[in-house]
Each structure stands twice: as C-alpha cells, then as structure tokens.
C-alpha cells in the first residue's frame, strides 16, 4: 500500500520534470542571430575586455581551477546522491557548497563566495546537523527507497541531464572571456541599497518572519 503511494509520488515528480524539460527545450534562447540589438553592446565589451585582460586571472590557471573544483562539486553532488547516512550526506553537501564557493571566487564574486561559506557552511549545515541529531534515534538513520523508484529517478534525471546538455551546447552563448570589470564590494553594497532596496528590505523582513516562524513551529505544543 505504502509502496504504491511512494511510486505514485515519484512518478508525479518525474512528470513535472519531464514537463519542465519539454518547456525548456521549446524555449527560445537569445543568440547573436536573433538578437541584433546587442551587437553594439558586445562591441563595447570587446573593447573593455582588452583593457582588463591583464586583471583577469590567467585563463590556463582558471581552467585548471575550474576543472578541479567543478569536479569536486560534481563528485560531492554525486556523493550526496549515493550516500544513505544523513550525516554523511550533509558532509558531502558541505564539499559541494565549498567547491561552489571556490567557483564563485573564480568568477570574481568574492563576496558571494564568502557569504556562501558563512551562511551555508556555517549556518545551514549546522542547522541540518542539528536537525539530524534531534530527529534520529540511532546514528545510522536510513530510509530506503524502492529499487525501481531509484532506477526511474535515475533514468529521468539522466534524460534531463542529456537534454539540458544538448540544449546548452546547441545554444550560442555570448563568448566574453572576462568580466567587464570585477565587482567591488562597495559597488555591490551600493546596488543593494539603491536599485535593489525593496527586495533587500523584503528579504530582511522575510528573515525576521522566518526567525519567529521557525521558533514558533519548533516550539509548538501539542
């Protein structure tokens, strides 16, 4: 009975993912061909890129670092997939988050990389470990999933990955080799408090609400 329901649930997810796949495949992506208006812009950037190419990290080093940490990210993500113990999953997740943070650094988003480490690694992950400790009876918490469902999920995800990759490779992406200019933290702050002031405030209110809400949820008496 429960088995059936589980499979039903996962098929629902499968359907959703396939639908998302299909809709993304049919979407029109901007390519230089269908977007002539940006030609002027890219010219401008070509000019900038000449000026700033000395600032950008050496492309070979960047490539090496990308493959190293991209590989770490993927391996950690796969590790999350195949591990059964929740704490080990969280540890793999930490590997993935750390590698992602290094990639942010690589892409010139140093502030985000640091924030990622603080918020995710320092906060979210501890939250998760907390949750695990509060909710597990034995150190080896395992919730097994029916084998058929594993295969189904794996197949769907594989199809999705292949579809996405073909789609991505087939699309013409802007090929700027470097950022227009590395964003400084000051500009970041300025943007956040001018253009994005409303989302920023909404975000802070959200955090407050979440703080109170989570405390209330966890405390709720039966």
């Amino acid at each position: 009975m429960i088995e059936q329901r589980q499979t039903k649930n996962s098929f629902l997810i499968v359907g959703l993912v396939l639908a998302a796949c299909a809709s993304s495949a049919s979407a029109q992506y901007p390519t230089p061909e269908n977007r002539p208006a940006r030609a002027a812009e890219s010219e401008l950037n070509a000019e900038e890129s000449v000026v700033t190419s000395t600032v950008a990290p050496n492309s070979a080093v960047e490539a090496a670092l990308f493959y190293l940490f991209g590989g770490t990210l993927l391996v950690s993500a796969l590790g999350v997939c195949v591990t059964k113990s929740v704490v080990r999953m969280a540890t793999w997740l930490f590997g993935a988050l750390g590698a992602a943070a290094v990639l942010y650094f690589l892409m010139g988003a140093a502030f985000l990389g640091a924030i990622q480490l603080i918020v995710y690694a320092g906060g979210t992950l501890i939250l998760i470990v907390f949750g695990v400790m509060l909710t597990s009876k034995s150190p080896w918490v395992r919730f097994d999933c029916p084998r058929i469902e594993m295969w189904a999920a794996g197949g769907v995800v594989g199809v999705l990955f292949v579809a996405l990759t073909t789609l991505l490779i087939g699309t013409q992406w802007p090929t700027l080799s470097a950022a227009a200019h590395p964003a400084t933290i000051a500009e970041f702050g300025k943007e956040l408090l001018t253009t994005y002031l409303v989302p920023f405030e909404v975000g802070s209110v959200l955090l407050l609400v979440v703080m109170i809400g989570a405390a209330h949820l966890a405390r709720q008496e039966n």
């Binding site: 509060l134 009876k137 034995s138 150190p139 080896w140 966890a218 405390r219 008496e221 039966n222």
Partner: protein, 399 residues
Amino acid sequence: MSEIALETRPDPLAGTDKSEQGDVRTEEMLVNMGPQHPATHGVLRIVLRTDGELVLEAVPHIGYLHRCAEKIGENLAPYQYIPYTDRMDYLAGMNNNQAFAIAIERLAGVEVPLRAQYIRVMFAELNRIASHLVAFGTYGLDMGAFTPFLYAFREREMILDLFESACGARLTYSYITIGGVTDDLPDRFLEVLDEFMDYFEPKIDEYNQLLSFNQIFVKRTADVGVISAEDAVRWALTGPVLRASGVNWDLRKSTPYEIYDRFDFDIPIGLPGGSEGVPRAVVVGDSWNRHIVKVWEMRQSCRIIRQAMEQMPEGPHIAAKTKNLKLPDDEIYIEIENPRGQLGFYVRGDGTQIPSRVKVRGPSFCNISVLNHIGSGCLLADIPAIVGSIDIVMGECDR
C-alpha cells in the same frame, strides 16, 4: 554489525516517561559518568538519565573500591587494624586512626595521656585542613579552575611534610594508635608548625579571592543542589554538608570527645545570600555553602591548633599497655567528627584480643546517598558541582 547491535540491544529507557512538557520533543538517554571519570573523585559511577543537558536522574553506583575493610577488622587485633583504618579515608588518615583508637580505648578502658590527646587533636585538625585543602582544590578543578588546585596542594605538601617529620608517612600514617600516638613530637616541631600557621592563615583569604568569591564560581555553585535542613537531617547527612544546610551540629561541640571542650572555636554553618558578605545568589544548603563551610572550617582548625600548641603539656605520649588488649564482652559505638562528617566505629568484643564485630559508619557513604535527591533536575555541568561539594572519598565509601 553495529546496526544489529544497536537495534537488538534492549532499550533501558523503555517505559520511562518521555518529557512531553518541553518545547522540543527530545529523547532521553542513559550516560555513564564514571567509574573512570575525572570529576567523580575516584571510582564512583553515576548513571545519569539525561534529556539533553538536563539530568533527570543521577544514580550513584558504588563498590568499585570494596576491600572488605570491616571483615578484616574482625580478624585482626585492634592495633593491627589501625593501618587499615587510614586506608579507608585516605585523605584523613589521622582522623580515621583516631576514631578507631577512641573506640577501642573506650571499650578496653585504656587511659590516654593528656599530651597524647593534645597531639591527637592537633594532628586531627591538621589533617582536617589537609583534607579540606584537597576538597577545595579538586572542587576548583571540577569547576574548570586549575590553579587553586595547585595552590591547595602546595600548602597540603607542607602539612604532609609535618606529618612525615612526626611519623614518617605522608598518606597512611597509623600515627594515632590505641592509647596515644606512636611517637612523640620531633624536635622543633611546634616551631615549624607555628611558622606554617603564620604562613597558612593568610592563604585562606587568597583562596577565597581566587575561587570562593569569584563571580563565575559563585554563579556555578550558588543555588545548585540545595539541601534543606530537614532533608539534610532526614538523609542522615553529617559534617560540612549538614552544616551548610544551616544545622549547627558538630560532634566536637555537641558531644566533645578527647579534649575538644578545652578549646574555643566556632562552628561555621551555611549562610543565606546577602548576609555577611555572602553573594546574593547563595541560598542555605547549596553547593557554594558546602564549599565555603569547609574553607571557614580550615580557619577554625587553625584556631584549635594554635590553642593546642599553647596548652601542650609535657608527659608520656602513649599509655603503658596498648598491645594484646583483651576486649571485654561488650559493645561500643562511638562517632567522631571526620572532615567529611561523622565517622562511626561499632566494635564488639568477646573477651579475646580480636573483636568479633567491626562496623563502620562512613560519612561519604551516607552523604553520597543524597546525590539522586539533589542531582535530579539539574544540568549536566552541575553534577560535578554537586559531587564535588559533597566531597566524597570512595575508599571510605566502599571500604
């Protein structure tokens, strides 16, 4: 393999109440504190039923140091048994010797020379100081303050030097024996002792500055493990634990043995917070009071020692006949004030040299029984605070 072990093991908590009243649903668990644990002062094992940091139950398990001390006493002549008594409470060997010696003397009717009685009292009080110094130091250690421990041991070493000069032993003295003390005081002993007292008495203030009135220490111990006066009496607690609960009861005052009635000293008892410089958070009967009563007792012991030094008479140090005593067909139970409480010896003679029955009432054994009463409902870190304040010696607890 580990999973099977975990799954098949019977759940010792099955049937216990889940703590539903809390904010967060939690699981209780059993943890073993000891027998090998730095805060249990020897080989005490406390089984804690905990809910996170909260201790719901603390059950002391004793007996790891059981050496059949009482049974041995029924197979040896009393003077042979003296070395066994100081191995019970190894921090207060003199007091244990004294208790057993007094019991046998009263039973067999041995008259103790006056000088011997003065020496005994002096040494018993010195040993009380040494014992309280250990209690003070290790209590600091339990609270995470390492330094007072070494200060206390520095002074204790000096007392042990004095003991060594008198009897050659530093821990298990067998100095106070039936009919007196084994040897007379060595030369210049009283001068050195006087020098030590001059050195030591100001140190008590230093200890208080360093530990007793330290805000963190007060916060850790005040209002922790409170024993009311009624409870203290009901649980048959004795010694500093009883006096900290506000009960003015000390055998040296109430039923003076030896020559304690000749000295002028006070019995420190537990004080409520806010009075006489006591920190506000303190209540009568809490761990802080149990700690401070010992510190004040050190000062009173100093007073007694000084008076004993002044009044020290000349004369023999031991009665004429102390060995091969025939114990009458009678029984006796006497108690004296050990540093930890009332140490009682019950001895029954049957006309031979060897007693037919020896029983000991150990103060640590009686005092530890209150642990579950005051240790439930406190935090995990309070357990060392409580155990340390009760000041147990497992050797005497298990005997």
